[in-house]
C-alpha cells in the first residue's frame, strides 16, 4: 500500500517526532510511506474563520499534493476530519471539485483508525512502563468515531496501564483560534481538564491531536504538575526516548 503522510502543520512545526513515529507505525503495518512536499496545512483555520475562499484554495492544493496515493494518513483527527467531513461540504455546489473532495475523503484517515480499521493492526511492539490516561480529542471522536482504536493499540504496549479519564470526551478548550480569541473561557475549560487529569493519578496523558496536547501540557506546567504529555503515536511507535515529553525541560 502506497500511503502519503499528511504531516499537519502543528506536527511539522512543533513535534517532528510524531511524524517519524507515524512513519514507523505505517511501515510496521506494511505500508510504503511517502511525504508529498507540496503539502502545508489542511486549511481548517481559514474554514473555521468563515474564509471559504482561502479554505478552498488550500483544499485544491491538498487534492493535487495527495493525488494518486492509496491512502492519506494524518496523526490528527482534526486535520483528517477536515478532509473527510468538511472538504465535501466546502465544495457542495461545485460538482467537479466535489467529486475530487469525496474521492480524497474516502481514502483519508486518522492514524490509529487507519492502523486498526484498514491495516488490521491489533498489537504494536512497544514498551512503556507508565500509568497513563487518555483524552479523546473532539474531532477524531465525533467526526471520525475514533474511540476504541487508540485504546486497543495501547493495550498491547508492554508495561502500560490505562486509567480512564472522567470527562475524556469533553473538549479541553483548545479549539484552534478559540483559545486565543476567548482565553478566559479556554482557561476555565483547560483548568477543568487539568484537574480531571491530575485526579486520575496517571503519570502521563496521551491524545491523538497535537493542538489539544499543547494546550493540556501548557496548563499542566503552568499549574506546576508533573504529568508527562505525549502524542499517542510516540508511545505506540516506542519512540518515547527520542524526544522529551511535550513542554518538558532538558
Amino acid at each position: 500500500m502506497r500511503v502519503a503522510l499528511f504531516v499537519t502543520c502543528l506536527v511539522d512545526l512543533f513535534r517532528p517526532t510524531v511524524g517519524f513515529a507515524t512513519v514507523k507505525l505505517l511501515e510496521q503495518a506494511g505500508c510504503t510511506v511517502e511525504v508529498p512536499r507540496a503539502q502545508t496545512c489542511c486549511g481548517q483555520p481559514a474554514y473555521n474563520s468563515g474564509d471559504r475562499a482561502d479554505a478552498k484554495a488550500i483544499a485544491l492544493q491538498v487534492f493535487d499534493a495527495f493525488a494518486g496515493y492509496d491512502h492519506v494518513v494524518a496523526p490528527s483527527g482534526s486535520c483528517a476530519g477536515m478532509i473527510r467531513q468538511h472538504y465535501p461540504e466546502l465544495f457542495a455546489g461545485d460538482p467537479v471539485n466535489l467529486q475530487r473532495a469525496q474521492e480524497l475523503a474516502g481514502r483519508t484517515w486518522e492514524l490509529t483508525s487507519f492502523l486498526v480499521d484498514v491495516c488490521g493492526t491489533r498489537t504494536v511492539s512497544a514498551q512503556w512502563d507508565r500509568e497513563v490516561t487518555y483524552h479523546d480529542a473532539c474531532s477524531g471522536l465525533r467526526e471520525l468515531g475514533v474511540k476504541l482504536q487508540p485504546r486497543q493499540l495501547l493495550a498491547s504496549v508492554a508495561g502500560l496501564r490505562l486509567r480512564e479519564l472522567p470527562g475524556a470526551e469533553i473538549c479541553c478548550g483548545f479549539g484552534g483560534t478559540f483559545c486565543i480569541k476567548y482565553p478566559d473561557i479556554s482557561d476555565k475549560m483547560v483548568t477543568d481538564k487539568e484537574t480531571d487529569i491530575v485526579a486520575t493519578g496517571a503519570e502521563a496523558v496521551l491524545a491523538g491531536d497535537l493542538g489539544c496536547l499543547l494546550n493540556m501540557a501548557g496548563k499542566l506546567y503552568r499549574q506546576g504538575r508533573c504529568v508527562e504529555v505525549r502524542h499517542v503515536a510516540e508511545v505506540l511507535a516506542g519512540m518515547t526516548e527520542e524526544a522529551r515529553p511535550i513542554g518538558a525541560a532538558r
Binding site: C9, T40, Y182, D184, I246, G247
Partner: protein, 471 residues
C-alpha cells in the same frame, strides 16, 4: 429584553468570577448529561427515533404554509382564534388586545420562551397588567428581576441559599424567622404564594412545545403542573408560540415527545403533558371560555431555503446547552439575550442580528458535542460556521485577525516558502526554549501564554528533517 451579546467577553468574565454561578453550573455540568445518557441507554431505538424526529420536522418545514393554514382552520373549527404575528410588537399587541377585551388585571404565565423573545412581561407591565410567572424557576427570576439563564431551567444560575434570600426579601407577609433551609420548604412557600394568583388571574398565558395541524391542538409539558392551572382556571387562555413548532399529526407529536423529555431532563416523559384543543365545550367540566393562539414569525419564515433552515427543527430541549463546555463555563447570562448555548449561538444572530450577536457563533471550539446529542440532528457547529462566513463576508471580524489570516493563507498556498518559514520558526523557538522546554510568555501569543505555558518546538521542522534523511 435589552441584548448585551455585544459585551459577551465581559459577561463571560463576570460569569467565570461568580462563585455561586460556578457552583450551580458544576452541578448541572454532570447532572443533565448523566441523566440523559441513562435514559437513552434504556431506549435502544433512540438513534432511530432521532432520525424519525428529524424527518418529521423537515417534512413539516417543507410544507409549512400548508400545515399552518390547516392548523388555523382546525383551531377556528374548535372555537379558538389564531393571531398571526410577524413581529414581537404584533405579538405583544395581540396579547394586549385580548387582555383588554376582558378587562384583565392579573395574568398568570406558564413558561414561554416566545414570551421572553417578544419581551411580553415588560410590555404588559407598561400597560398596567401584572404578569405572574408560575413555573418555579421563572417565578424566582421574576422576583429577582433577572432574565432566564437556560431555556428549560431558567434559574439554574442560582444556588438554593440565593433563592431563600430572595423569598425572604419578597414574601414580606410571612414570618421572617421561618426556615427555608430545604428545597421542599421553598417549593411549598412558592406554591402557597402562587395559589391565590392562579385563582385571581383573568388570563392565562402558556407557551407550546408543539402544536398539531390535524387537530388544532397545542401541547405543553411541565414538571410542576403549573401550566395546567394557568390554562384551565382563567376565563381566557392565550398560547404564545412560533410557527416552527407545528407538526402535522398527534402521532408526530408523540414521537417528538419521546425525544424531548429524554434529551432535556433524562425523563421518559415529563410529569405533565397537556393537550389543549379550543375553549371549553358545552358539557366540559373545566377549561377557558376563550382560546387564542398568538403565532409568531419574527423572521423564521425567511430562513426556509437558506443555510439556517435546519435550525427551525429545534424542539427547545436544551440538550445542546446541557452538553456545551462553553455554556458550562460561563452560564447563560453571558450570551446576553434570551437563548443561550449552541442553539442560542445560531438563533440569536437570526433574531437580533449578527452585528449585535457576533461573538456567540465565534465562542465555540466546534467540539461537536451539541450536534451529537441533538434529538433532531441539527448541525449546530456547521451553522455557527455559516455565521462566521457571513461575518467574514461583511468584514465584521477584527481587522488584525483578518489580515493575519490572509497572510497565513497566502503563505500556506506557497509550499516552498511555507516550509522555509516553518523551519525558521521551529529553529528559533526551539533554540529559545531549548532548556526550559516551554515559554511563560511569547510575543504575538499572549492570548495563549496569559493562562498557560507554550511548549517549545523540538527545534527542526518535520519536512526539513525528512528531506535530510531521504538524501
Amino acid at each position: 429584553m435589552l441584548a448585551t451579546s455585544r459585551t459577551f467577553v465581559a459577561n463571560a468574565r463576570a460569569g467565570l468570577a461568580n462563585d455561586n454561578l460556578q457552583h450551580a453550573l458544576g452541578l448541572a455540568r454532570t447532572g443533565f448529561p448523566l441523566r440523559r445518557r441513562l435514559a437513552i441507554e434504556r431506549l435502544p431505538e433512540f438513534e432511530a427515533l432521532r432520525e424519525t424526529g428529524r424527518s418529521i420536522k423537515d417534512h413539516t418545514l417543507e410544507h409549512l404554509d400548508f400545515y399552518l393554514e390547516l392548523y388555523e382552520s382546525r383551531v377556528v373549527a374548535s372555537g379558538g382564534k389564531v393571531h398571526w404575528a410577524r413581529t414581537p410588537q404584533e405579538a405583544c399587541a395581540a396579547v394586549l388586545q385580548v387582555c383588554r377585551s376582558v378587562g384583565a388585571k392579573i395574568v398568570t404565565k406558564g413558561k414561554s420562551m416566545i414570551a421572553e423573545e417578544v419581551g411580553l412581561n415588560e410590555f404588559l407591565e407598561r400597560h398596567g397588567i401584572t404578569p405572574v410567572e408560575t413555573d418555579l424557576g421563572e417565578y424566582i427570576i421574576q422576583l429577582r428581576h433577572e432574565p432566564p439563564s437556560h431555556i428549560i431551567a431558567p434559574a439554574i444560575h442560582l444556588i438554593k441559599e440565593q433563592v431563600a434570600e430572595t423569598f425572604r426579601a419578597e414574601h414580606r407577609s410571612l414570618d421572617p424567622d421561618r426556615s427555608l433551609a430545604e428545597p421542599r420548604q421553598m417549593c411549598d412557600e412558592a406554591r402557597a404564594m402562587l395559589r391565590p394568583r392562579f385563582l385571581a388571574a383573568d388570563v392565562g398565558i402558556t407557551g407550546a412545545n408543539f402544536h398539531v395541524a390535524e387537530t388544532g391542538s397545542s401541547i405543553i409539558v411541565t414538571n410542576e403542573g403549573n401550566g395546567d392551572l394557568t390554562q384551565t382556571l382563567p376565563r381566557v387562555h392565550i398560547v404564545m408560540t412560533s410557527i416552527e413548532k407545528l407538526v402535522p399529526t398527534l402521532e408526530d407529536a408523540a414521537t417528538l415527545l419521546r425525544l424531548l423529555a429524554r434529551s432535556a431532563t433524562g425523563q421518559e416523559f415529563s410529569s405533565y403533558t397537556t393537550i389543549s384543543t379550543g375553549p371549553r365545550r358545552p358539557g366540559d367540566l373545566d377549561g377557558p371560555e376563550q382560546y387564542h393562539v398568538v403565532l409568531l414569525d419574527n423572521g423564521r419564515s425567511e430562513l426556509i431555503g437558506t443555510e439556517f433552515q435546519d435550525m427551525l427543527r429545534c424542539i427547545r430541549c436544551s440538550a445542546c446547552i446541557n452538553h456545551c463546555p462553553v455554556y458550562a463555563a460561563v452560564g447563560g447570562h453571558a450570551y446576553g439575550w434570551v437563548y443561550p448555548g449552541p442553539m442560542g449561538a445560531v438563533l440569536t444572530p437570526i433574531l437580533i442580528g449578527i452585528e449585535e450577536a457576533g461573538h456567540l457563533p465565534n465562542a465555540s471550539t466546534f467540539c461537536g458535542r451539541c450536534e451529537s446529542v441533538c434529538p433532531v440532528k441539527i448541525p449546530l457547529p456547521k451553522m455557527m460556521r455559516h455565521w462566521r462566513e457571513r461575518e467574514y463576508a461583511k468584514k465584521l471580524s477584527p481587522p488584525v485577525y483578518r489580515t493575519g489570516l490572509s497572510l497565513w493563507a497566502w503563505v500556506a498556498r506557497r509550499p516552498a516558502l511555507y516550509h522555509a518559514l516553518a523551519e525558521i520558526a521551529s529553529r528559533v523557538l526551539g533554540w529559545a526554549g531549548r532548556d526550559r522546554g516551554r515559554f511563560r510568555s511569547l510575543p504575538l501569543a499572549t492570548g495563549w501564554t496569559a493562562v498557560r505555558d507554550m511548549p517549545a518546538p523540538e527545534g527542526r521542522s518535520f519536512h526539513s528533517l525528512w528531506a535530510e534523511r531521504r538524501k
